[in-house]
Structures are given as C-alpha cells and as structure tokens.
Symmetry: C2
Subunit: 337 residues, 2 copies
Amino acid sequence: MATIYDVAKRANVSAMTVSRVINNGSSIKESTRLRVEKAIKELDYIPNRSAQSLISKDTKLLSLLITDVANPFFTSIARGAEDKAHEKGYQLVFSNSDENIEKETSYIRSAVSRGIDGMLLTPSGDFSIQNINILTKYKIPFVLVDRSLKGIESDIVHGDNSDGTKKLMDHLFENGHRTIGFVTGPSSISNVRERGDAYKQFIKDNKLPFNEKWTFQTDLARMQTLSYINLLLEASKEDRPTAILCSNNFLAADLVNNMNKMGLHVPDDISVVCFDDPHAIQMPNSFFTVVNQPAYKFGYTGMEMLIDRIEGKSGKEHKEIVYDTELIIRQSTKKIN
Amino acid sequence: MATIYDVAKRANVSAMTVSRVINNGSSIKESTRLRVEKAIKELDYIPNRSAQSLISKDTKLLSLLITDVANPFFTSIARGAEDKAHEKGYQLVFSNSDENIEKETSYIRSAVSRGIDGMLLTPSGDFSIQNINILTKYKIPFVLVDRSLKGIESDIVHGDNSDGTKKLMDHLFENGHRTIGFVTGPSSISNVRERGDAYKQFIKDNKLPFNEKWTFQTDLARMQTLSYINLLLEASKEDRPTAILCSNNFLAADLVNNMNKMGLHVPDDISVVCFDDPHAIQMPNSFFTVVNQPAYKFGYTGMEMLIDRIEGKSGKEHKEIVYDTELIIRQSTKKIN
DNA sequence: AGACAAATTGTTACCGGTAACATAGAATAG
DNA sequence: CTATTCTATGTTACCGGTAACAATTTGTCT
C-alpha cells in the first residue's frame, strides 16, 4: 500500500506538498501539481483514512443501528439512509440489534471506538437510554428513528402513531367490527405505547366492548403468537374478536401464518390489520390491509438531519419530524354484518 | 474523548501498561490491572480504532457491496453477512451500487481508502473487473456473491442457475406450457447468461417453439417491462407465450404490476415464474411461483469465506460454493390444457 | 547472600497523514 | 537596488495507539 511518502519521493517533493495537491490546498505550482498527480496515478495511491481521522477527528463514517434489516420497514429506512449518506460523502456501517439491549450496547461501543461521526438509530426500548448516554458522553450526534426515548431530547423522525392507529380502527369499525383484539410488542417501546393508547382511546370513544384478554403483548424478537391463537381457539366464536390490530408487520405476518396452520382463516374467520407493509416493493396481489409509513423517508430525512447536525447546520433546538401514514386496504380485512 | 494517556495518568502508570491491560497482555500485577481498569471505567475510555488501525493495518471493517438492499434477495444476503461479521467481531459498511459501474468504482475506492479488511460483493457486471483490479492491487481479500466474473479467480458463493432455471421450466412444461417467454437482464451479468443458456437449452431439449421476439432483455435498474407487455398485447393470443420466465424477482414484480395495469391477468392470461422471492419473510397468501435461493446463506457463508481468507485460514486455491435452489409453487402459475 | 531468571513496567520510535510554523526564491514597491 | 510581500515548498511535531527493546523489581536457587 503506497503511502504519501512514496508519492512524495517519486514526485521529488515533500509529503506536505502531496497532501496539498490532494486537498487542493493553496499555491501549488502547476508543474508541481502535475508531477504529483502523475505519481499518485502511477502508484495508485489512495490516502489512508485512519491516518487522516487521527488528526481530523472525523471519519466520514456513520452508523445505522436498526433492529433488523430483514424487516422491510427497516430495509427501506436503510436504503433511504444510505442514499443520503452517499450523497453527502459519508459511508454507512449497519448493525442489527434484534431488540436486544446487550447487542445494542456492544454495537454502540464499537461505533464510538471507530470514531463514527454520528448515528441514526432505532432504540430497542426505553432502557436504551443507558446506551444513548454513551453517545452523549462522547458528544456523538445522533438521530432517533421510529421510536422516541422517554426524557431524551434529540432530533427524531417518526410516523404519526395515534393517527395511524385511528385510521386502522376506523377502517375496521366501518366494516362492522366491534370486538377488536390487539397484538403488540413490549411497552418499553414508544410507538407500541402510542399505538396502544390510541387503540384504547378509540375503544373508549366508540364505547366498544373491551376485554383485556384480547390484548396480547409479546417480544418483538421471538413473537409467540401461537399462545394468542390458542386463546382465540379456546374462546367461543361469539366471544372472539372479529378483527385484530397488530402493531407491527412482522407480528402480523407471523400471526396470520400461524393462524393458517391452526385452521383460522384471514379474513374469513377474522380480519387482521397492521402497521407497515411486510414487503419492501409493490407486489401484485398483496395481502395485508395496513397503515403504511414512509420508511424510506424516515431513513433519508433522518440521515439528512444527522448530517446537518454533524456539520453544524442545525440550531441548538432539536427537530422532530412526524410523517403521515397512509391506509391501504387489501385482502386481510372483510366487512361483517 | 479520553485517550490512553488520560487513563495512564489517572492510574499512575505508563500508556503501555494501559494498552497491556486492554489487550490482556502478559504479566500485569493484579493491583495494577485493577487500578487501570478503574481508571478506564471512570473515564469511560474507549480505544481509538483509527490509531490502532494505523499500526495494525487492519480495521475490523468489512465492506458489503450489493446492488440494492431494498431487493429482498439482497436484504437477506445483507442480514446473513452482518450476522457472521458480528459473530467474528467485524463491522460492516454497506453500499448500493444500483447496477452502476461508476457508483461501484467510487464505493470501492472509498472502501480501500478506509482500509477495509475485505469485501463481499455482487459485481454489477463483467466490466466490474476493472474495479476488482483495485482490490487485487491493494491485496484486499474479496468474495463474490451471486455473480461470477469472466476470467476472475476468486472465492464465490452462488446458486445453481442452470438447475434453477430447469426447475422453473419443468414446472411450466408439466403444466402444459409450450411457448415460454423470457424476461431478463443484461448479459454482462453471469447469472443472467447462465439462466438464459439453461432456458435455451430446455427449449432445444424439449423441441419447444422458439421465437426471439419473446426474449426481452432490460436494464435491471430501470426495468422497461411495459414495452414487452405492449409486444404481448399486439400479438394475437395464439402467438403469445402462455408463460413467462423472469430471471429476477424485481423484474417479475414489475412485469406483473404493469400487466395488471394493462389488463393482462396473471395467471389467467399468462403464467409468470421467476428466481427469488420478492419478499424477505414468509408471507401468507404469497403470489409468485419461484425458484428460491438461500440468500441468507449466501451472505452468511460468503462472509465466513471472506473472514477465513482474511485471517489466513483458507488455502491458496479458491473456493466455490454452489447452493441448490428450491421450487415453490404458488399462485402466479396455472395449468393449461 | 549473590547470581541469575522471571515478572512487571517504562521508553522510544513509528504507523500515515496534516497543522503550524519556517524558509527560500520571486515579485512588487519605493 | 534594497526592503517588503507573496508564493511555493519544506520541517517539525503531533494525533493515539503499540512493537520492540530497556530498565527495574521481585523471586528462585545454590
């Protein structure tokens, strides 16, 4: 690997002059510049970023910490984030926390160690605050995506969870559903809470029957929807909810896959709706009725906010961007009498 | 940001001793180790990887260069690659080349500049060889995924394209299809060639009618399937293929989406099959009949090969891993008389 | 106790860049 | 024609670690 000294020697100048040529520093004689550029080309010289970072304190490296790229929602975030990062000359390290706080901690520590310039992240839950504190301690700018953190002031991009939930509930209500179940994640996640609150609010506002039993809270990493399904199967048909709201696409896919296995049919036996499309691209014959969030924009805009902050282009106060959701009616819901 | 010298001063030892404690170097007195560890904790010291890399010549950073994370096939590769990388203590920079050679070049150059230890990549096409040469020049280990490169010897993971194509064609043939169209990408991509060859071979072997007209080659980035559909619509029903083989999931989704818009129905008017699922997770009511490749394994195993090579655990000869494909029959195909 | 080996810790130099300051030669001014 | 200011380039030191070697302390053995 050629170093700046190799180039310097070959061009018969000092390393400093080479450095100036590379960073189009001031006052280089044309003939010198040409000689240096020739040497650079001949040696295929590429500057060593570690050495540069050691001085400049920046790395042009950003970190994207999401729970799982395989989830199309996060895939789109990742794609959006990478697009903006690339646009601005940054590169992106990505990590999957799998909703696991230890994994999150370890990723954040290595990101800091690597000297990343900033981080775009979806915290696994409120306990992630301890991890955020590492970032704060090291003065590393960060932007939250999709989930806020109790008591943490920061730039953030997310969707309108209350309104999204309401859209889903409205749709079910308009289709005759009155007993609506709720399958969701751990309440340490802000959007789970917000969606849960909106769900309860809707039930209250519309004086729907409420039975704690039909609310099922599960781990987002290994969703145990089967036990919920067993509960459904044990209940008499009249007691059963006629529709279920899932707070998350993966949960919904898992739920319906398992329902099929157990002989419960969607939407004939029960309607199912959820947040976020379970597929990244537009598909013919899509199944789920969803409230979709502009995940790509989450990533793209979040990254933009992050870079603005890194480059000192944002004010002291923190920005919050809330995107509208869009109801897409498909095959997983059905009108009932 | 605390440095090793800050820790050293606080613990009343030399920087070297701190370094030894961190890397559990030999012979440190227990009392010293404790004192140093205390100082590390108190200062929240995290070693600076740029400084370490400058000496060690490694960065524990790997690069994953794929064409598009948003494509579920690549999403799964990314997830598999990240899992293995994390297991082995590496972090992953990811980039989307979008089948664009210039983008690929620029990504590779910055990866080299960054001092990545190795690269896992899906080259955009045979012209990517010039980019591979940069890696070779800098002696950076790499592993190819999904696509090989004419005349380049390297570690590689991919699926069995010929057999996969044959499975798809067999399925169509068994369902009565005789005139089968082919929608594919540019022939500079190895798997496109292999699938195309297998397609032609099948037609020859089974003495099926062949009409060049029903083979459509398009850019994988902006797929212009509409013009193909217009061709179909112009032809009389008898001349039209009764089934189409797409060499790629995105192409198939785009094709069918556009067909729906134009009033051609799948599978009633025409059957469609393709390589790779257009969704990353198992979905109820999936639409496409596909030949699936174990994309996650592509990423996971590819990364394993890469790390083995980096760490000098692989022999001189290059390894090629070929995975079997799996035919999954769903709704996009139909038996005809 | 003295000699030597082992254990523990320190010193120096260097990795590959660049900031800050220094210097030589050319251009401009008086 | 000398003083002064640019212009172009070089020198030195340092970023934060660690390898290699040096020095000191402690332990072991006869």
